[in-house]
């Protein structure tokens, strides 16, 4: 206990964060990296091709998990993320067809994400119902609207958006010709949200709201708007991912994003976020999102049947949470 608690003043705050809540995630992450490196044929896991692929694909879920993690810290859930992604992608495509300028479309799409998040927040907070239910409802509602509205036809974007525009470069190009822009965005957004959560007063309110809502209220924090703010952050990140996915895949599909909602929660939990709120860190969530996806990728490369991967990940999540809460109990006693 003493080692963790009496942190020497010389240690930087960042180091403290890593050594503190995210320690387990760091260890698991490193172990997985080593296992996959040495147990895949020809160390194909670490090949530049696989790493390039991972850094292109992982940010999709990763960016959403960042939002979900923060939302979970303030004590709420969002099951509607996948539907928000799809709705935002759909609106993006419609506007693109209509000939609106690209950057305006991007701003409208991000605004739409924020609005959908706001709606989730208002329903949860003003309706006084669990966000689990509110967003479960919205998840089904938006997906249904989308199925009808798009008649379930996929829509390609290449007819309206020639490849290689500067707009596309910004979102899904390659930094210095090597690093996928998605990876840069993921790291950048994680850094911004990390600074917001750990050093800004809003972050303090998020933790306080999730940890002891009554206390936060008694101290004058408007916990309703803190929660709504977190829902909006999630919405904006979903819209962002919608744009990334559209540009990478080149077409809209009405089933887009399905499965993200639970995987994002799993990623946050693996990153040390507690379902009960109040505990978690951006470093942890970041690594949690990577861990889940590296596990998926690594297992496939090790020759595990693709459709059986879920079984492994499911077990891994349970084991990880058991480990996490065990360490937490040890730490407190």
């Amino acid at each position: 206990m003493g080692v963790i608690l009496t942190v020497s003043k010389k240690q930087s705050s960042l180091l403290k964060l890593v050594s503190f809540r995210a320690a387990n995630t760091v260890i698991v992450f490193v172990v997985l990296m080593l296992v996959f490196t040495f147990f895949t044929r020809n160390r194909v896991f670490l090949s530049s091709r696989n790493m390039g692929l991972l850094s292109k694909l992982a940010p999709d879920l990763g960016i959403i998990a960042l939002g979900i993690g923060i939302l979970m810290i303030c004590g709420e859930f969002d099951l509607s993320v996948a539907s928000i992604v799809a709705v935002c992608a759909y609106v993006f495509v419609l506007l693109l067809k209509g000939g609106t300028s690209l950057f305006l479309i991007a701003i409208i799409t991000l605004g739409l994400g924020a609005a959908l998040g706001l709606l989730n927040g208002l329903i949860t907070v003003k309706g006084g119902i669990p966000s689990f239910i509110a967003t479960l409802g919205m998840m089904m509602f938006w997906r249904g609207i989308l199925y009808v509205s798009s008649r379930m036809w996929p829509i390609g974007i290449r007819a309206y958006l020639p490849a290689g525009t500067s707009f596309e470069q910004i979102f899904v190009g390659r930094m210095g010709g090597v690093i996928p822009a998605q990876a840069v965005w993921f790291v950048g957004l994680a850094a911004i949200l990390g600074v917001l959560l750990h050093f800004h007063k809003f972050g303090n309110w998020v933790y306080a709201t999730g940890d002891n809502r009554e206390a936060a209220r008694a101290m004058g924090i408007n916990t309703d708007w803190v929660k709504i703010g977190c829902f909006m952050i999630v919405g904006i990140l979903c819209a962002f991912v919608a744009i990334l996915q559209l540009l990478r895949l080149g077409s809209f599909c009405c089933t887009q994003g399905q499965g993200f909602e639970l995987k994002a929660i799993a990623a946050s939990v693996v990153g040390g976020t507690f379902l009960t709120g109040g505990i978690g860190s951006v470093v942890g969530i970041f690594l949690g999102a990577l861990t889940i996806q590296i596990m998926e990728n690594g297992l496939i490369l090790m020759g595990i049947p693709v459709f059986g991967i879920g079984a492994f990940i499911g077990l891994a999540i349970i084991l990880f949470v058991i480990l996490n809460s065990y360490v937490e109990r040890k730490r407190i006693s």
């Binding site: 942190v7 303090n204 933790y207 306080a208 940890d211 936060a216 101290m219 109040g278 407190i332």
Partner: protein
């Protein structure tokens, strides 16, 4: 009034006059008068359901009284929310402890009132320094302002809550059953904190039904029963036995 002439020497900080509060058909406060002088510790005692908590919740802005007036430092105060009360310098230390267990001491002390540098970023150094200072002022010794509340004892937690009101320069601190869930040793520690508040010229309303805790620290005792004030006595004119008798006796017999 005679009571006022005594108070005049020290000055009345807060005065509640003829406070009435109904909850539906329940008449919870039936015209209660209550006052606290500067740097005075008042024990507000009475059995469960006597109206103690209701009275102080009116004062701290949690409840609105249907009738009655509150004067603070001689001026009529319009307290309609906890924020109003806090602006006047009335702080409450709740029995359920308004602390977030998984946050650090300094983050708890400044919860909702974080000192900031540019753009709303917290001034962590100032927070840590002020936290340690406030804790030292009530003689609570902790290793670091980064300790999480969850590792502290119950007494230390109350200490953090008290340090918080001290830092924000409260003039009146309301303590609602601050010793109720504590061991004997921890309760003793909290009583020491309360004495420290008086050293800082802060008035305290100490609500409890444990006379053995309140008697050594309070100077005056106000007893409530069934929403009415039964007695208002200086310590020199009473004893624990006498107070117990007053509480147990039915108000109607007075």
């Amino acid at each position: 009034m005679k009571a006022d002439s005594i108070g005049e020497s020290r000055g009345v900080l807060v005065k509640m006059v003829n406070i009435h509060k109904w909850f539906g058909k329940v008449h919870a406060l039936k015209g209660v008068d209550f006052e606290v002088k500067h740097s005075e510790i008042v024990g507000l005692v009475g059995d469960n359901g006597a109206g103690k908590s209701t009275l102080i919740k009116v004062l701290s802005g949690v409840y609105l009284a249907e009738e009655g007036e509150i004067f603070f430092e001689g001026r009529r105060a319009n307290i309609t929310s906890p924020g109003d009360a806090r602006k006047l310098g009335i702080e409450t230390v709740y029995q359920e402890q308004a602390l977030a267990p998984n946050m650090s001491i300094s983050r708890n002390i400044f919860m909702g009132r974080e000192p900031t540098k540019a753009l709303g970023f917290m001034d962590k150094k100032a927070m840590d320094k002020a936290s340690m200072e406030a804790l030292r002022n009530i003689r609570l010794d902790v290793a670091s302002p980064d300790l999480l509340i969850t590792v502290l004892s119950g007494g230390q937690r109350q200490g953090v809550a008290i340090a918080r009101v001290l830092h924000f320069e409260a003039k009146l601190v309301i303590m609602d059953e601050p010793t109720i869930a504590l061991s004997i040793k921890e309760a003793h520690q909290v009583l020491e904190f309360i004495k420290q508040l008086r050293e800082e010229n802060i008035s305290v309303i100490f609500i409890t039904h444990n006379l053995y805790h309140v008697f050594p620290v309070a100077e005056r005792f106000v007893i409530l029963g069934s929403g009415e004030k039964i007695a208002d006595v200086e310590k020199k004119d009473t004893s624990i036995d006498h107070l117990t008798e007053l509480i147990v006796r039915e108000p109607s017999r007075l």
